[in-house]
Symmetry: C2
Subunit: 219 residues, 2 copies
DNA sequence: ACCTGAACACCGTTCAAGT
DNA sequence: ACCTGAACACCGTTCAAGT
C-alpha cells in the first residue's frame, strides 16, 4: 500500500476509464480511487492533460508489436495492423484517448517506426513510404473508432434497440441494405479493408507476380 | 432581435467551437454569447448532448453533397469523399464533434445513403457494398482527424516547434524520413489514399479494362 | 409557453500550510 | 520531498418561481 507514484496514478486512470468510460474520469475521482487527496496527484503529474498522455502511453506499451523480419512484407503489415487493433479489444474505452494524443514519447512512436521500416523494406521510398504510412494510420484509426462505437456503423448500436426508423422513401439504399447493415463483425470488417489496402500497395509496387496467397486473394 | 430558438443556439455553439475550440464550449458560455440566462437554453434543447447532435447536423447540412449520376462511379466516389473532407476545411474544430455523434437524423444519414447508392451502381452487392462503405468511412474519418490535428501526422504540429528530439538510435526510420515527414499536405495525402482505394475497388470489380484515367492513374 | 435565479453536486488548479 | 485542505473560477442540470 501507499507510496503514490506516477505509474500507480496512470494505472488507476486506465482502470477507471475502462470501468466507467472516458467521460467519468476526473482528477478527483482518481484520487478518491487511490484513497488520497486530489492535490496529492499533482506531486507526480503536472496536470490532467499529462495524465491522459500517460494513459495513452500505458495502453500502447501493453500492446505486443512483435515483428518477424523473415516474413513477407504483406504479412508483416497485417500483423502490425492487427496488433494495433488489439487496443480496441483490450482497452475499448481508452481507445479514443490513445488515438487522440500527440505522443512524442518512445511508446508513442515505436509503432510508426516499425511500420515505416516495413514499408521501406517492401520497396517504398521517400515521400511514397510516408504517404503509405499515413494512409494506413488513417484507415486503422477510423476502423478502431467504429469498433469502439465513437463513429457510426449504421448497425444498431445495441441489439435491443431495433434500429432507428428509416423512411424508405428518403433512404432506399439504406433500407435495401438493412440486412447487411444490421451486422457488423468488427474483425471481418477490419480484415476486409486491410486486404484491400495490402493488395493495392502490392499493385503500386508492381508486384503482380506474387502468388495468390501473397496477394491476399482467395485461391 | 431576440426570440431564442434551437437554430440560433446551435449556430452560436458552432461559432463558439470554431472560435475557441470544442473544449471551450459550455452551456453557460453559449448562453452568455446569446445574452440570455443559462436555463433559457433548456427551453429549446433538452441537454448538452442533444445540442452537440445539433452542431453535428448543422455542419453536415452545410456541406454540398452534389452528385452527378452521369459521371463514372469512380469519379462520383471521389466527389463524395472530397465533399466530406470539406468539413475539415470549413469547420476544423467541429470536425471531431461531427464524426463522433451517432446521428439518426436525415442530415446524418444522407451521406451514407448517397455513398451506398453509388457503390451499388458501381456493381457491388449486398455485404460487399456495405464493407466498401464502412472501409471508405474509416479512411475518411481517419484522414479528417489527422487533418484537424486530433491524430498524429508525425510532422511538426506547428512550424515553430522544430520537432520533438528523436533519438536516431531508437528511431532510425523516422529520422531517415524526417524530410518527408516534416511536410503534410492534407489535400495531397487525402487524394493519395483516395486514389489507392478507388483503384483497389476497381480491381475488386474486375474492371481492368478501364482507361488509365478512369483507373485513376497518371497516363 | 417561455424565461430565469438559486441551488446542488460536480470540475481542474493555485496557493499556503503542514510534515 | 511529499502531502493536503481551503479557496477560486468554473461545469451541467433540477427545481420552483416568475411572466
Amino acid at each position: 500500500m501507499s507510496t503514490l507514484n506516477r505509474a500507480k496514478i496512470v494505472a488507476a486512470a486506465v482502470d477507471l476509464i475502462e470501468r466507467e468510460g472516458a467521460d467519468a474520469i476526473s482528477m478527483r475521482r482518481i484520487a478518491a480511487e487511490l484513497g488520497v487527496g486530489v492535490m496529492s496527484l499533482y506531486n507526480h503529474v503536472p496536470n490532467k492533460s499529462a495524465l491522459l498522455d500517460g494513459v495513452a502511453e500505458a495502453v500502447l506499451s501493453g500492446i505486443e508489436f512483435t515483428d518477424d523480419p523473415s516474413a513477407h512484407w504483406t504479412e508483416r503489415v497485417r500483423i502490425q495492423a492487427r496488433a494495433f487493433r488489439q487496443i480496441a479489444h483490450d482497452y475499448p474505452r481508452s481507445t479514443m484517448v490513445v488515438v487522440s494524443r500527440q505522443l512524442h514519447s518512445t511508446a508513442g512512436m515505436i509503432p510508426a517506426e516499425r511500420a515505416l521500416a516495413t514499408l521501406r523494406e517492401a520497396g517504398f521510398k521517400g515521400e511514397e513510404a510516408v504517404r503509405m504510412l499515413r494512409m494506413f494510420i488513417a484507415y486503422i484509426v477510423g476502423s478502431l473508432l467504429r469498433e469502439v462505437g465513437v463513429t457510426p456503423t449504421f448497425a444498431p448500436v445495441r441489439p435491443d434497440v431495433p434500429m432507428p426508423d428509416v423512411d424508405p422513401a428518403l433512404f432506399p439504399e439504406l433500407c435495401a441494405g438493412a440486412p447487411d447493415l444490421a451486422v457488423c463483425d468488427h474483425e471481418a470488417e477490419f480484415e476486409f479493408g486491410l486486404e484491400l489496402l495490402v493488395q493495392a500497395m502490392a499493385v503500386r509496387l508492381g508486384e503482380r507476380g506474387l502468388t495468390g496467397h501473397e496477394r491476399g486473394l482467395e485461391t
